[in-house]
């Protein structure tokens, strides 16, 4: 498609059309980004400011949301709080000012860590399997190739909730329920389809002549794959890995249905952060912020490959 990329060079839009288009796009972008900025800001509000009416744009920044996110606290009588030795840390002081003491760490750090382990573990496996299979589909004559490729992609479209029941039963039988390994295998299975399709697109673009030349020079097919194709596909492999990581990071349906403790990731945890008298919005916003930051960074890194990623490698630019 590259020869088409200069499509509009001849028919240049008029300056005023450009200006109006730019203004409309900017307006949409600003409206659509406001909810995200609002969450970012809410994470730094004191609870009373977070639920104030009218909504407060100017407020005294507070780290209470983040403190509440990482700790569990218990309410004490003022006499008890006064009887304690002086607070040692700023967050102790903050919590005591609310008439509470820190009872211990919350589960957020654990859940976040689970998200990291399961995300990176499943991404590594999916990309490993996906690279091999994509190379196989790209270079070899495979019987029923198109059917196999369709089969692989169709598994990704499967509604998680439709297979959650038997996976739940199966994992219960073989002792994988609520384990990180179980979730890694599950997310690998979901991501491998994307990895195969995306990587096949990337590998198709690497000229076969490179491997042929290497094999004429005495490399075996396997050596040519490792020493010639893999380095050429490095960008594609990195982009694919980020897509897999984002999916595993964001996944909620399987996580909420199949995990409850040891292997629970952050997405099912963040919505149930409760304070005294209902949802602790600054803490939820703080957790959301910490959870979304990696995604924002990755999106910026991936922006050139996004189209490819969302169309399973079919559309390139």
């Amino acid at each position: 498609m590259s020869y088409l990329s200069a499509a509009h060079s001849v028919v240049e839009p008029l300056p005023w059309a450009k200006r109006i288009a730019g203004a409309l796009v900017a307006l949409y972008a600003i409206i659509s980004i406001v909810p995200l900025l609002w969450i970012l800001v809410t994470g730094f509000k004191a609870p009373a400011d977070a639920v104030a009416y009218p909504p407060k744009v100017v407020f005294e920044p507070s780290l209470e949301g983040y403190v509440n996110l990482f700790t569990t606290r218990s309410r004490q009588t003022p006499e008890y709080v006064a009887s304690l030795p002086p607070a040692e840390t700023w967050y102790d002081t903050l919590v005591r000012a609310r008439g509470m003491v820190i009872a211990g760490p919350s589960k957020f750090a654990e859940r976040y860590f689970n998200s990291l382990v399961i995300g990176f573990g499943s991404t590594f496996l999916a990309v490993l399997l996906g690279t091999l299979a994509a190379y196989g589909f790209s270079r070899f004559r495979v019987p029923l190739k198109d059917d196999l490729l369709f089969f692989i992609l169709s598994t990704r479209m499967m509604p998680p909730i439709a297979v959650a029941i038997p996976i739940y039963l199966m994992y219960r039988e073989i002792g994988l329920s609520d384990t990180r390994l179980g979730m890694i295998l599950l997310y690998t299975a979901v991501n491998v389809s994307l990895a195969v399709w995306l990587l096949k697109g990337f590998i198709d673009e690497i000229p076969r002549e490179y491997e042929d030349a290497a094999m004429v020079d005495g490399y075996t097919r396997l050596q040519a794959f490792v020493k010639v194709v893999l380095p050429q596909a490095a960008t594609g492999i990195a982009a694919t890995a980020i897509f897999c990581l984002i999916f595993a990071w964001n996944e909620y349906a399987f996580a909420v249905l199949l995990t409850s403790g040891a292997a629970q990731t952050a997405p099912p945890f963040i919505p149930i952060i409760i304070g005294e008298g209902g949802q602790d919005w600054p803490a939820v916003a703080a957790g959301t912020t910490l959870f979304l930051i990696p995604i924002v960074v990755f999106t910026v890194l991936l922006r050139k490959h996004l189209l490819r990623g969302i169309t399973f490698g079919a559309l390139r630019r």
Binding site: L24, A50, G136, A162, M215, P268, L315
Partner: protein, 320 residues
Amino acid sequence: MTPPPSATPIADQAARATPQPVAARLRGISDRALAWWFIAPTVLLLLAINIFPLLWTVWLSFTNYKANRAGRGAPWLALDNYHSLLNDADIWLAMQVTGHFVFWSILLEVVLGFGLALALDKRFRGHGVWTTVILLPMMLSPAVVGTFWSFLFQPQIGLFNYAVGYFAGVDPGAFQMIGDVPLAPWAIVIVDVWMWTPYVMLICLAGLRSVPAYLYEAAEVDRASTWRRFCAITLPMVLPFLMLAVLFRAIENFKMFDMVNLLTNGGPGSTTEVVSITLKREAFEKWRTGYSSALAVILFVTVFGAANIYVKALNALRNR
């Protein structure tokens, strides 16, 4: 995508002409074996974690199994579950709710997404940065999105209510997007449109950029009006891309679970209870495993059929 015969490596041709044992010694592992070793792990994993559970779902759908009473066995019911499903008013209601959600979210996403793509295609200064900003929502976790939108939708204190109140001159405490029966179905549409308009936009933009410049040049020569150019060139060229986006969004929204689960959890009443939420209730709250499996099969067959069309469309566009 099969290569022309001339592209077959000489070594391959030689290996094929050579007796098998000799070829193996020449090449280490034969290509055929290598292809198998490369592809088999993926296929086996998918068989174990996707296809096996799926077949299990199909089997369960013919029984009266209850996952919370595993010891009781599973009486064979044949097609009874399907029969009662089709006569279950709640299921039809869920289908209606899902239909409303799919139709309106996709319609709005197409209008907004196509409009944005047309605007971005004017390549004004800074369009790259704005594009990245606009794309952000679709990369986020639907669960987290559902959670924080439920904060924005709070009556009185929610930013959404405040903004609507401010611009429309109504009391922001007078309506609850996720609590009022007439409004809740629109709450899930709004959040979905916020999240997925960028998706439609990105694919439409690819469509617009695939239009060869000579078509516009020819239109220029013919002095075709802007409107005529849009109808005769832009629209037909972008339509296949648009259909691809619509099909994929339809599949995704038909099985929508996470965002709705956290935003409204099907409520108030069952006004936003899309099919996946019904399925969750039947399977993991009422523990009617057999019955919910039948619903899962219906959901899956529909998605599978749509996926088939989607892949055909995908291949058609790829090979253009």
